[in-house]
Amino acid sequence: MASANVHPASEPARWKYLDSVRTRPGPFTDASTFNGSVVARAMETMKVLVIGAGGLGCEILKNLALSGFKDIHVIDMDTIDISNLNRQFLFRQEDVGKSKAEVAARFVEKRVRGVRITPYNCKIQDFDEDFYMQFQLVICGLDSIEARRWINATLVGLVDENIEDSYKPLIDGGTEGFKGQARVIFPTVTSCIECQLDMHAPRAAVPLCTLASIPRQPEHCIEWAHVIAWDQEKPFPQLDKDDPEHINWLYQKALDRAREFNIPGVTYSLTQGVVKNIIPAIASTNSVIAAACCNEALKIASNCAPSLGLPDANYMMYSGNDGIYTYTFRHERKDDCPVCGGQARDLPADAAWTLRELLDSLAARPEAQLRQPSVRTATKTLYMQLPPSLEEQTRPNLDKTLAELGLDHGQEIVVTDPAFATVIFMFKLKFKSR
């Protein structure tokens, strides 16, 4: 095996080690898909899209450039904040305030000769399907579930059985403290991000009555300031979670509340953490997860070794809290996935619920997580968020029970949410047996 020829890239010295692996088959290489003589050229011309130029994104861009990819595109709408500099290593003090995508692109282009990086300083939702159709591979390094779900739905939507080039493998990385995950999705073929949504259950919400009358934890006081006091007093027109003045207002309110109930532990940083739902980011975890993602990218692009997703495991879970532990497994595709499956998903409900309670449950259920749902049946509109006139017209339905609205056990409902414009979520009501 080792005697097979090495096919050097254009700069043999620089890519010598990479070429000995990617252009020669190893014991695990699938001979039917591998052609060592074309790998270097194929990777040079392959268009790869990176979403996010933050903690993971910086690592991903650097890794791809040093793995032989030459035509890289990156989307990030954020500008550089001073607090990013501890781990987003492509940025310097003088870059604060500039576009993350642009600064990151320039830095890597300068550092790795021959690489072209095209930055887009905007939202992923600003582009249409034609834009996404030009890429052969998409890698996400995001901290938002919403954005992941959006790009996942878009890539699944691109798939056209008659066009081979319409299947865009999606590699997704995420980190939280010393934990993280890397997963590979072959849209419509393997389990997608929506299939796996319950792996990212939202934190249990604190009941409003606890916030309003019986707080016990410092977090309850902060949530009270955030949810109730802010609404009552409206100290500023709109809450800006990045404005220290706003956070300070919430902190002072929470502090007063905590004093009233004798609850210790409210601090400014806890306030900021609770309000922004901050996930602490650690540079070393970013390095591990981004590298795991780009390792999959190299394997997918070159076929020099089997990647995650085909045929077995598609998900690597990583934890560095207690030693180092990985769990690499196969997450099965779900037939009732609203994005890649065809069947309506069962939704537990109760005939005595109001429509509002049903909508609240859509927001809370780990496998749905829809915060601004509009609902209809095949024949009837139940509630629409937009336009305002229709919202007003359908609002009275919110306080009616499902029974009053004529909804029965087994009824199929269609849910849409402006955060996922292209996706139609189909649910089948499952009433509790009585």
Binding site: Y17, S67, F178, I214, S284, A313, D322, I324
Partner: protein, 423 residues
């Protein structure tokens, strides 16, 4: 910290330095899709601040309540059936469980529910006590109480990590021991006297009125403080104890159940077992596990990856040394020649000398083939991933927080997974 392959003379210089200065050593080897790193700590390495999962740390002492807690619960529940719905629906679950445990004991010769069957029976008793004639048709605090039965009704016991600390045979005399060991001795005495560990004192959130919750919180905190004070007293009475920081005692008491000793056998006893012997016994164990892996649904061992990498590293280092002896003045930069291609057969021959028989294992043969393909070269992603894990472990060792690996982590970039082995 050093990377393989490394010239044997450089390695022995580094190892001699580390031993003299009691410095932790990290060896790193990355080649193609494979890597491993190995941490060598100078002696036993205790960690107090292990950051266990929040849910694991709940210790309510419901089966060994102290007088203040018992009195508080009895006071709140003395007329439990006469409470109005709001009061009844806001009894903290700790109080509910203590109340019904008393009732249970009265009906069962003063014994607590001990078996799984008894605990589920007890749970039914708690569930049945919830009021259902209210608008909600149930009570959240009673649901919390029922849900907590199996998790919290556990008699105090000594966790394995702490047991290892208690039983550790010190190579050095008492006077030279660190604060950690002095506190550990005091906690051991405390445990022998009270048959339980110092109370951590943390109360999880539960449905309750603010005032009642905070009272209960203070009862747990006060007990934790008095336990810690007792331990501090024992520490200060022991030789060298006067220099121990009380904050260190507090931290130990809060985390006592999760204290962990890494590299515990790395002391004198272990030195008699050679590295080569340890590798052979690890191989025997791992290959035996692989025989049944399909049945137990456990992943296959990554030891073959380690064997192939370190065999290639040994070969490469020997080759580089030979070049040096021929008279090359390459010196430290000689590892440029160490990347020279080493065949799968050469790798297998080296493995055969270290672990006889392993060279015939099919997965070892595959791993050797994969290492040979890399020809000593690193892939950027695998190196970055390994570097990230090394950085993480160094952070843990320097800050003495979380639990470092013990002692070798192998990464397989083809299957995208890791395994930690003690080698």
């Amino acid at each position: 910290m050093y990377t393989h392959p490394i010239l044997p003379e450089n390695l022995s210089a580094i190892e001699a330095y580390a031993q003299r200065h009691k410095t932790p050593l990290v060896a790193i080897h990355s080649s193609g899709f494979y890597s491993y790193f190995q941490i060598n700590l100078p002696g036993a390495f205790p960690i107090v601040d292990t950051h266990p999962d929040e849910t694991a740390t709940t210790d309510l002492r419901l089966l060994s309540p102290w007088p203040e807690l018992t009195a508080f619960a009895a006071e709140l529940t003395k007329d439990i059936d006469g409470l109005d719905d709001v009061e009844h629906g806001h009894l903290p679950y700790v109080v509910i469980l203590l109340h019904y445990l008393e009732r249970w004991k009265a009906a069962h010769d003063g014994k607590y529910p001990a078996t799984y069957k008894e605990k589920t029976e007890f749970r039914k008793m708690v569930q049945a006590a919830a009021r259902t004639d209210n608008p909600e048709g149930g009570e959240e605090n009673f649901e919390e109480a029922a849900a907590a039965v199996l998790k919290t009704l556990v008699p105090p016991s000594l966790p394995s990590g702490l047991r290892e600390v208690f039983e550790y045979k010190h190579p050095e005399p008492v006077e030279q021991r660190s604060g950690f060991w002095l506190i550990a001795d005091a906690v051991k005495q405390f445990y022998e006297k009270h048959q339980c560990l110092p109370l951590p004192g943390k109360l999880p959130d539960m449905k309750a009125q603010s005032k009642v919750y905070i009272q209960l919180q203070n009862i747990y905190k006060a007990k934790a403080r008095s336990d810690a004070a007792e331990i501090l007293q024992i520490v200060q009475a022991s030789p060298g104890g006067e220099r121990v920081d009380p904050a260190e005692v507090d931290l130990f008491c809060k985390n006592a159940a999760f204290v962990k000793l890494i590299n515990a056998t790395g002391g004198e006893g272990d030195a008699s077992i050679s590295r080569a012997d340890r590798l052979r016994s690890a191989a025997a164990r791992e290959f035996a596990n692989d025989e049944t892996a399909a049945l137990t649904l456990s992943p296959l061992s990554l030891l073959p990856v380690y064997l192939a990498l370190q065999a290639a590293g040994t070969r490469a280092a020997a080759a580089a040394e030979a070049v040096n002896h021929v008279g090359s003045s390459a010196g430290h930069s000689s590892n440029s020649s160490s990347g020279g291609a080493i065949s799968a057969d050469e790798i297998l021959a080296t493995i055969a000398a270290q672990v006889p028989g392993a060279e015939k294992n099919e997965r070892v043969v595959q791993a050797a083939g994969e290492v040979a393909r890399a020809a000593g070269g690193e892939l950027h992603n695998v190196a970055a991933l390994t570097g990230g894990m090394v950085a993480q472990e160094v952070i843990k060792i320097v800050t003495k927080q979380y639990i470092p690996i013990d002692n070798t982590c192998v990464f397989d970039g083809i299957a995208s997974r890791c395994q930690v082995l003690r080698l």
